[in-house]
């Protein structure tokens, strides 16, 4: 805790101060000097690491205590701190080789945290999937850093000019695997759903941002291919819509939140793509707006997504289930958790006056400004803006579904009816994050210098604080918040003065409504899911009621991840089959091995012979 506080102070000092921090030690590791640098961009990411790291550590004291998890609680604390340390190192190290080491250590810490509860098979499965996906990305990063070093002749990182632009694609894939944009998100839903909730919070709120950090960082340093902006903006738009469509389909609340992270990564990438586009075409001012929005969204998403995961964790802690169709009416036993979750839901839907709106508004503003120029290269912002709008409206629907099904209405099961509010140790971190969400919403000018500093360190032409729009929206949002509070108070007073009476929910005169008559999360999502049937491969079980006295009917729908189960798994099966076929070559018969040797030598001989001829 004290450590995260110190790191936060350091990060904020860099963000709001003038200096960059640079430190080169004489300590040699792997033949390279340890070289660290903390500039505006890394400080921005470091600040969110420290905030969520601190809040999560506090939350875990009550959520994953020694008394309930004697085997894994201490282990969890160790890996938690190691994860924070490694993320800090990733952000600060300015040497390719050491960066890779820190990156790998960071990925491994994530693995051990996800599999804290390693007795459950689905947790182990999620952990292995995470590890495999993470290493697929790391492999690409190994190639990327090695080729970078080969071209520049040094492992030192910094702006480079004379390297082939195609290297950017390696970085995009490698870091994108961690960031989890669609379709590289395959590991994300299961890992985030099965990890303990404080781990989900930091993985979803912060760890995937390390991938974004990599893309932003090297998008700023490398010479880029001409199509980079278009590809990033396209991936972002696809990720935003697909992520939220899959989120809408989920019944597991933590899976829903995980898919929503895919959407938010998409939003960040839309902003980043617009910035790349603008920088490739003469540093247009709208690029700065989009980049500022994207970077602010990194903070905002970290804050409200951690808040929502903490809320989901409290629900899981109190009821023992993540399935929304078994919950309901939880606002009565857990009013504080419900309130914080509702606030997070408003923020994540990008509604004013909370923080999600400010960053999404900045990105939209960048896109709209780009559209008004009518430049030939800016056409990509039109579909991006419209898809972004669709994703925003779907996010609103998805979070109404989540909040409404879990916290409102009547309890659907006994577990939900007998839940009780979690302790202050879990509520306090949620309250802190909620307060920061509100603060950034009503006073965005406070964080503006930090964002301007980060955009400036990404592109020196954009160091001027493009703050005019933000300084106008801030007071408007503040006034809105005040008016909302006043109007709510007045109406409550008026209703109280006129007399309040409680009665049953009105259901066509039927006096015995049961909890099973409520609208379920599946039916709530039904209409909009129909539009995405082409991408879902739904598992569908339906037993119709038959006969005059039907024994019971059921209808089960499951929405598996299409990319994972229909592309990656079949591809993996093909590779396994090929490998198994190759295994046939190895059978322990010495004669055959000698034959291989002779044949190999003969082929080599023929090659050498032909080479000599040519």
């Amino acid at each position: 805790m004290a450590g995260t506080l110190a790191v936060l102070v350091a990060a904020l000092a860099v963000l709001f101060g003038q200096n960059e921090w640079e430190w080169t030690s004489n300590f040699v590791l792997g033949g390279e000097r340890v070289h660290m640098r903390l500039d505006g961009l890394s400080a921005l990411f470091l600040a969110i690491v420290s905030v969520i790291g601190g809040a999560g550590a506090a939350y875990a004291r009550d959520y994953w205590p020694d008394s309930e998890y004697p085997a894994s609680a201490a282990r969890g604390r160790v890996w938690w701190n190691a994860l924070l340390l490694c993320m800090g190192l990733v952000l600060m190290i300015s040497n390719g080789l050491l960066f890779l080491i820190a990156w790998e250590a960071f990925a491994l810490c994530g693995f051990f945290l996800i599999t804290l509860d390693n007795r459950r098979p689905e947790v182990r499965k999620a952990g292995w999937l995470y590890l495999a996906a993470s290493h697929a990305g790391t492999l690409s990063l190994f190639a990327f850093f090695a080729m970078l070093a080969a071209h520049t002749g040094s492992w030192d990182l910094g702006p480079v000019r004379d390297v082939p632009p195609a290297l950017f694609w390696l970085a995009l894939f490698g870091f994108g695997m961690k960031a989890g944009f669609f379709p590289c998100h395959i590991w994300l839903p299961s890992a985030h759903a099965n990890a303990p909730s404080h781990v989900s919070a930091i993985m979803s709120g912060v760890a995937i941002k390390m991938g974004i950090y990599g893309i932003v960082r090297f998008g700023g340093w490398l010479p880029l291919p001409a199509s980079a902006g278009y590809v990033v903006i396209g991936l972002g738009a696809m990720s935003a819509v697909m992520g939220i469509a899959f989120a809408m389909a989920q019944n597991d609340i933590k899976r829903l939140l995980a898919y929503c992270s895919v959407e938010n990564i998409g939003i960040i990438m839309i902003g980043l793509g617009a910035a790349l586009l603008a920088r490739a075409h003469g540093n247009a001012a709208w690029g700065q707006l989009a980049l500022a929005g994207a970077l602010l969204h990194v903070w905002n998403h970290g804050l409200f997504k951690s808040l929502l995961f903490f809320g989901a964790g409290s629900v899981l802690h109190a009821t023992g289930t993540r399935e929304m169709s078994r919950l309901g009416g939880l606002w009565r036993p857990m009013p504080w958790t419900a309130g914080f979750f509702a606030l997070g839901a408003v923020a994540v839907s990008g509604l004013p006056p909370l923080n999600g709106f400010v960053s999404e508004w900045l990105i939209y503003l960048g896109l709209f400004d780009a559209a008004t120029t009518r430049s030939g290269y800016a056409w990509a912002v039109l579909p991006a803006a419209i898809l972004f709008a669709i994703a925003g409206a779907l996010a609103l629907a998805a979070f109404l579904k989540a909040g409404g099904t879990v916290f409102l209405g009547a309890s659907r099961t006994k577990a939900a009816a007998h839940a009780c509010e979690c302790g202050a140790g879990m509520l306090a971190p949620m309250g802190l994050l909620a307060a920061v969400c509100m603060l950034i919403g009503i006073a965005p000018s406070l964080v503006l210098p930090a964002i301007a500093r980060a955009t400036g360190s990404w592109n020196p032409a954009w160091s001027s604080a493009g703050g005019a729009p933000v300084s106008t929206i801030g007071p408007a949002l503040l006034a809105l918040a005040a008016l909302v509070a006043a109007a709510g108070f007045l109406l409550w007073k008026k209703a109280g003065a006129n007399g309040l009476r409680r009665d049953l929910t009105w259901d066509c005169g039927y006096r015995e409504p049961t909890a099973r008559m409520q609208y379920t999360s599946g039916s709530f999502a039904g209409i909009s899911l129909g539009w995405f049937r082409w991408i879902f491969h739904t598992d569908f079980k339906f037993r119709r009621p038959r006969g005059p006295f039907p024994p019971g009917s059921l209808r089960i729908e499951r929405f598996p991840d299409t990319v994972l189960e229909w592309i990656v798994v079949p591809a993996g099966a093909v590779i396994t089959r090929l490998s198994n076929a190759a295994l046939g070559l190895q059978h322990g018969r010495l004669q055959a091995y000698i034959l291989y040797l002779v044949a190999g030598l003969a082929t080599l001989g023929v090659f050498v012979f032909l080479e000599g001829k040519l």
Binding site: G328, G329, W331, P335, A338, A342, S349, F357, W361, Y364, L365, F368, D369, A371, R374, L382, A385, I386, G392, A393, L394, L396, A397, L400, G403, G404, L408, G409, A410, P469, I473, A476, L480, L483, V484, A487, G488, L490, L491, W492, K494, A495, N498, L500, R501, R502, D503, L504, T505, W506, D507, C508, P513, M517, Q518, Y519, S523, F524, I527, S528
Partner: protein, 297 residues
């Protein structure tokens, strides 16, 4: 000045549903309720007590207030011809759209509070159809922004007549019908049917909260009517008096149009609702393309 403007919005809004009902009555050959009926309803509801569902939290009462403030705030941003907007800045159009989204979120949240199947249905429909309506709205606003080269409502709403304007007007009219739950998307006359959207969401409200909801809905209708008029008529180039007359006339025409559409159309089956909304989106998209290409030529 801004207080007068807000009062004007608040005072005039409930007139529109009354006018629509009068038009419908005339077409049907009935006398119909008085034009001021909604005022009477709101005043009466404001004085009544509240019946709360046993399942509902205090948010059930607070949410209509938040939604009303959001709609009033959005209305405050809409410029009235040469009088300009109450508050105008770069990007206010996005704030307007998101304030309407906030109002939708609050109404639907309150609907889910009661645990009623009807209200769940209404909320699900509202937020699902809003996805398409919002896409159409964004395409429309983008086309206005591209056409005028400005991203604030007072700069954007200075249309130059052309083919794009006709497409835009048609698209925005459909969005108006959908967002305000008029026929053919919804029927504001019926109560308690399985096919409703907005009315189904507010079934359990009563007393002052219901009054606030009804007033907010009428203000939203007026907002869309003003927006549609200002997107079609070049109000800013007229004299102040003429502009005020043109605006009032435009809103009146839109209102009568809604009434006539409601008299001659039946409500669509729910499967066809997304089709109609997609058509609105395509109309707005084509107007956007016209605006984009118009600059290149």
């Amino acid at each position: 000045m801004s207080v007068v403007r807000l009062l004007l919005w608040v005072a005039l809004a409930p007139l529109l549903p009354g006018l629509i009902n009068k038009v419908k009555a005339w077409v049907a050959g009935r006398q119909g309720p008085p034009v001021l009926q909604l005022y009477y309803d709101i005043i009466r509801l404001w004085q009544k007590g509240v019946v709360l569902s046993t399942l509902a939290s205090p948010v059930f009462v607070l949410a209509p207030a938040v939604a009303w403030v959001a709609i009033a705030g959005a209305a405050f941003l809409v410029p009235l011809g040469p009088a300009g907007a109450g508050l105008s800045f770069h990007g206010d159009v996005l704030l307007m759209i998101y304030l309407l989204a906030l109002a939708r979120f609050c109404t639907a949240w309150a609907a889910l509070e009661t645990g009623s199947a009807f209200e769940g249905m209404g909320a699900a429909r509202e937020v699902s159809y809003a996805v398409l309506a919002e896409a159409a709205m964004f395409a429309a606003m983008l086309s206005l922004a591209v056409q005028s080269g400005s991203v604030s409502l007072s700069g954007m709403l200075s249309p130059s007549p052309g083919a794009g304007t006709v497409l835009l007007a048609a698209g925005l009219f459909i969005v108006l019908l959908a967002e305000n739950c008029r026929v053919p998307f919804d029927d504001p006359n019926t109560h308690l049917e399985l096919t409703m959207i907005h009315e189904a969401m507010v079934l359990d409200h009563s007393g002052p909260p219901l009054a606030v909801i009804l007033h907010g809905a009428s203000m939203k209708l007026l907002l869309f009517a003003v927006l549609l008029t200002a997107a079609v008529l070049p109000l800013r180039s007229l004299q102040p008096l003429a502009a005020a007359g043109a605006l009032a006339g435009g809103v009146l025409v839109v209102t009568i149009g809604v009434g006539v559409a409601e008299s001659f159309l039946a409500r669509f089956s729910f499967r066809r609702v997304p089709l109609l909304l997609t058509m609105a989106f395509l109309l707005c998209l084509f107007s956007l393309l016209v605006a984009w290409k118009g600059g290149a030529a």
